[in-house]
Amino acid sequence: MDNILNQIGIENYIFLSVILFCIGVFGVLYRRNAIVVFMSIEIMLNAVNLLFAAFSTYHQDAQGQVFVFFSMAVAAAEVAVGLAILVSIFRNMHTIDVGNLKNLKG
């Protein structure tokens, strides 16, 4: 069956998502604003989701796409918790700068 995948080729999908993932990683590494970090993590996850979709088409198999739903749900839950924590941090420290989290060290 000739779908868009054959024309582009799976490798490109992989490269794309790897690149996206790396962007996400770098975001996490270099941004200090918590919100932005969250977003970067989301980018990482979504990169993976994209790849899942691609693979599932490649394999002609629905599991991958199902898995994407799982991961999206999980990610949502995660972020919910994360934001909650962030709120309490903001209440206590009046900042959302990850760089300021240095009470625990040594």
Binding site: V28, L51, F55, Q63, E78, I85, L101, K105
Partner: protein
């Protein structure tokens, strides 16, 4: 399977209790429930099976470890009674979360499908994020939660990526199929990458060097009970899962893998022990000691085909002594704002029994006979030498020598320093948990075969 369902049900029940205002009854009921579930696991132990087209696969391995998790949870729940006594309103939530976490843990060791594995790990982690940050008004707790969350979700990303690659290589999430194919065909390069990424994710969870940085901070910042959970239950879950994962994915690890594991294991021991030497905060110290123990546990992977029993024994010994130690720490650091070693001064006089328990558990961690910790190490060394990795054993031995240094710092504080205030009365539960767990530990030491033979 029933175990998993029952546990989740129990979790829901806890939440309902709050609504119907049975707050008082919640702890005992949960414990009873868990004990009942323990019975279920015993039933499953004898009847391996798989459910929902291999989403869940119950094996001896999974059953035994689930049992261990449940036991640990029982202790944790018992401890939580007076830990949360000053904010009773939330107790049901906390307990429910713990139960759900347990569910996640069970899912992790009895997964038959990577989806289940991923869900389990996430359930566990998310509950932990909450628990870590549960002390809302305490900055440290917040920070701990935040750090754990950031790094944890990062790790989840990595794991997910790994799973994705595996899927890409195999076109399936079913572990059984993957195992089959991984043996047979010429594999695409993605497969090992996938495995590696997943492994790394798990290494993060068991806090192995260099993915360990979160551990000390989070351990220190979180409420003590959460720290207890992390250092006992979670570590055990993670290493068990990793073990199961690797056995499932490619039973005989390639030398490349072995080398990586050797390096990481030695590194974890060394870093953990050396860093622990100069810690003043007991929780932080135990965090590092936990890292070094993670290194020890990793040694089981070197002889993966027949070290399940040893892994079980080691984890049991380690977590039991951990529970005992933390029970004492909970008692000592109750209504103190920090957990510095100074708090333990003169415990030997104020409360000899608790001091004795803590001493025993520390000796067990240090691997002094007759405590289970010693035999755990001994068996570990034996099978590692049999597998022919003498170097690792020597490194391990040198590490155990270093470790004595900081374990005894605590003992010295208890016996060699003068107390700085009067003894406070100990709640019965703490006594019970501490003593029971340490007794179990000693019994394990005297009759190792009991546990060892479960997974021959």
């Amino acid at each position: 399977m029933n175990t998993l369902i029952a546990i989740s049900g129990l979790g829901v029940l806890c939440l309902l209790f709050e609504i119907f205002n049975f707050r008082k009854a919640i702890v005992p009921v949960t414990i009873i429930g868990l004990l009942a579930i323990l019975g279920l696991t015993y039933a499953e132990f004898n009847a391996p099976a798989s459910f929902y087209n291999n989403m869940i696969v119950v094996s001896k391995f999974s059953a035994v470890f689930s049992a261990l998790f449940i036991v640990l949870t029982v202790f944790l729940i018992a401890l939580s009674h007076d830990f949360y006594e000053d904010h009773q309103t939330k107790i049901s939530d906390f307990i429910a979360i713990k139960i759900f976490m347990l569910a996640g843990a069970v899912a992790m060791v009895s997964f038959g499908n990577l989806a289940m594995f991923f869900l389990g790990i996430e359930v566990l982690s998310i509950s932990l994020y909450i628990l870590a940050a549960s002390n809302r008004l305490n900055v440290k707790s917040n920070e701990a939660g935040m750090k754990y969350f950031l790094m944890g979700s990062f790790a989840s990303g990595i794991i997910l990526f790994g799973i994705c690659f595996i899927y890409g290589a195999m076109g399936s999430f079913d572990v059984a199929e993957i195992t089959e194919w991984s043996r047979s065909a010429e594999l695409p390069i993605w497969f090992p990458i996938g495995i590696t990424l997943v492994t790394i994710g798990m290494l993060f969870k068991i806090a192995a060097v260099p993915f360990h940085f979160w551990a000390p901070d989070v351990y220190e910042g979180s409420p003590t009970l959460t720290t207890t959970t992390m250092s006992t239950l979670v570590k055990v879950v993670a290493i068990a899962t990793l073990y199961k994962l690797l056995t499932a994915m490619n039973a005989d690890l390639s030398d490349t893998y072995i080398n990586i594991i050797i390096v990481i294991s030695i590194a974890s021991m060394t870093v953990g022990n050396i860093m622990a030497l100069k810690q003043n905060n007991v929780k932080r110290m135990l965090a590092f000691s936990g890292i070094s123990h993670a290194g020890f546990m990793l040694m089981t992977l070197l002889n993966i085909s027949n070290s399940a029993g040893n892994l079980l024994y080691y984890t049991t010994a380690y977590s039991l002594s951990g529970i005992a130690a933390f029970a004492v720490i909970l008692y000592v650091c109750k209504n103190k704002n920090n957990e510095d070693i100074a708090n333990f001064n003169g415990l030997g006089k104020n409360n000899p029994l608790m001091a004795a328990v803590l001493t025993a558990s520390l000796l067990s961690m240090a691997g002094i006979p007759i405590f289970a910790g010693f035999f755990a190490k001994m068996f570990l060394f034996t099978q590692t030498i049999e597998a022919g990795y003498l170097i690792v054993v020597i490194a391990a031995v040198i590490n155990s020598i270093i470790s004595v240094g900081y374990y005894f710092k605590l003992i010295l504080a208890m016996y060699n320093k003068e107390a700085n205030e009067e003894a406070t009365k100990t709640p019965f539960v703490l006594y019970a948990v501490a003593i029971v767990s340490i007794l179990l530990n000693i019994v394990l030491g005297l009759f190792p075969s009991v546990v060892l033979d479960l997974l021959g």
